[in-house]
């Protein structure tokens, strides 16, 4: 079976041009829509693998139609095909979860390349799954050893699905880039206090100082790990958010949209939980 494509465009001429290019490339055009009206119904009836979507349409535009499609089917794979293409429309498309973006007039070869990339395994994402946690572990080990003068060894946690309960202080750092994700670092208040003392070479004055140390440590680990990954392949384009800290209770931590890979770092001061996860990003923008 070939790849099934649905074409959404208000212009019958554009639908014909895009459709012919797709058929010539061996794809099957299984449905067409010219507006939000009948979009979902057609999509649900013809069940395409890919939807090409115009942006400028009367009534609901391509962004709104894409949002509706993704609400109807969060796995819907959408390629925007539009003459409009600027920084903000690209950012908006990525936020909605659009997979690709091709500028009109459509170059058949480009459109086919984008669709092929979307339908093939995401090699950058696969690399992140393979190297991500190891790189973060390396950054943690290096920096905890350097700053707190303690050896670090790791024990892995096999199951990704078991909920994780905080030991006391949790730091969450958001990661954005080609694939967005999160780093979660968690340790007990006692371990944090001892690491702070080792780093400052004196006891912490108060809890603020301990929390500031934890936030800074997490920030350094995430920043260095993302830089290491970006150096391996600049297409990752990873950037980190400032840290959020959660403390003074035993909260459960979950990331419903991301599979978190987990590891435990054992130090002289106690264990540090490290969780890293990424989700598939947009595939190709041309």
């Amino acid at each position: 079976m070939g790849i099934k494509v649905m074409v959404v465009d208000d212009s019958s001429f554009s639908r014909m041009m895009i459709g012919e290019a797709l058929v010539e490339a061996g794809y099957e055009v299984v449905g067409e829509a010219e507006s939000l009206e009948l979009l979902i119904e057609t999509y649900n009836n013809c069940k395409p693998d890919i939807v090409t979507m115009d942006i400028a349409m009367p009534g609901a535009d391509g962004f709104e139609c894409s949002r509706e499609l993704r609400l109807n089917d969060p796995k819907a794979k959408i390629v925007l095909v539009s003459s409009m293409k600027d920084e903000e429309s690209e950012a908006e498309a990525k936020r909605i979860g659009v997979c690709g973006y091709v500028q009109k007039p459509v170059d058949a070869e480009t459109l086919v390349k984008v669709i092929q990339n979307i339908m093939s395994p995401d090699s950058l994402f696969e690399q992140l799954l393979e190297r991500g946690l190891e790189t973060f572990k390396e950054a943690l080990a290096q920096n905890v050893t350097r700053m707190a003068k303690t050896p670090v060894t790791f024990t892995s946690i096999e199951s990704c699905d078991t909920p994780y309960i905080s030991q006391g202080i949790t730091t969450v750092i958001g990661i954005i880039g080609q694939s967005a994700g999160s780093m979660i670092m968690d340790l007990s208040a006692e371990a944090a206090e001892q690491i702070t003392e080792a780093m400052l070479r004196r006891p912490a004055k108060n809890q603020e100082e301990i929390l500031a140390m934890v936030a800074e440590l997490a920030n350094i680990i995430a920043g260095i790990a993302c830089s290491m990954l970006n150096k391996k392949d600049k297409a990752f384009a990873l950037r980190v958010s400032p840290p959020s800290l959660f403390h003074d209770n035993t909260a459960e931590i979950v990331s419903p949209s991301v599979k978190i890979q987990k590891s435990i770092a054992e130090t002289d001061f106690g264990s540090i939980f490290l969780g890293v996860g990424f989700k598939k990003g947009a595939k190709l923008w041309m």
Binding site: E88, I173, S244, F246, H247, P256
Partner: protein, 154 residues
């Protein structure tokens, strides 16, 4: 308090929530806290990176989160805040924050991106953000108390 930081989030809430089954979205009040504040129940953490950065947190107590998820799932009974309910409220967080980024772009703050949501839930804890001040918007959404904590800096 920088109104430019709040308006896009207010608009995003009013825009997205009716699309996922809610009818009455009321803004009760807006207050200002320091970088550390108490929470009880569920906190959905969404990091923001770009010209402004930090975090948007959406908080509810556990019962409210279950009611919220139930409405999103067209009235399906939600007795536990289980993985399905967690997925529902995190998807809401994702949609609201993505929409807020779009609203920010309309006031000239372009190219913002958000991380996937992380949920913390437990009894009475504290959160400490890197922004010196946290703006708290208290919404009543179909009589469910929802607090949005905005810790963003430019």
């Amino acid at each position: 308090m920088d109104v430019n930081m709040i308006n896009p989030i207010l608009i995003a809430f009013a825009d997205i929530l009716p699309q996922i089954g809610f009818q009455k979205i009321e803004k009760k009040n807006i207050s200002l806290l320091g970088s550390t504040f108490n929470y009880d129940g569920v906190l959905i953490n969404l990091a923001v990176v770009g010209a402004i950065k930090g975090v948007i947190l959406i908080g509810m107590d556990i019962d409210s989160a279950k009611r919220f998820a139930s409405t999103m799932m067209m009235g399906m009974e939600v007795t536990d805040f289980d993985s399905l309910a967690q997925s529902a409220v995190s998807e809401m967080g994702n949609m609201v924050c993505a929409n807020a980024c779009t609203q920010f772009s309309k006031v000239g703050i372009n190219g913002l991106d958000i991380s996937p949501p992380t949920i913390m839930f437990g009894q009475k804890g504290q959160a400490t953000l890197s922004a010196p001040q946290t703006i708290v918007i208290h919404f009543l959404v179909d009589n469910i108390d929802v607090r949005v904590y905005v810790g963003l800096v430019s």
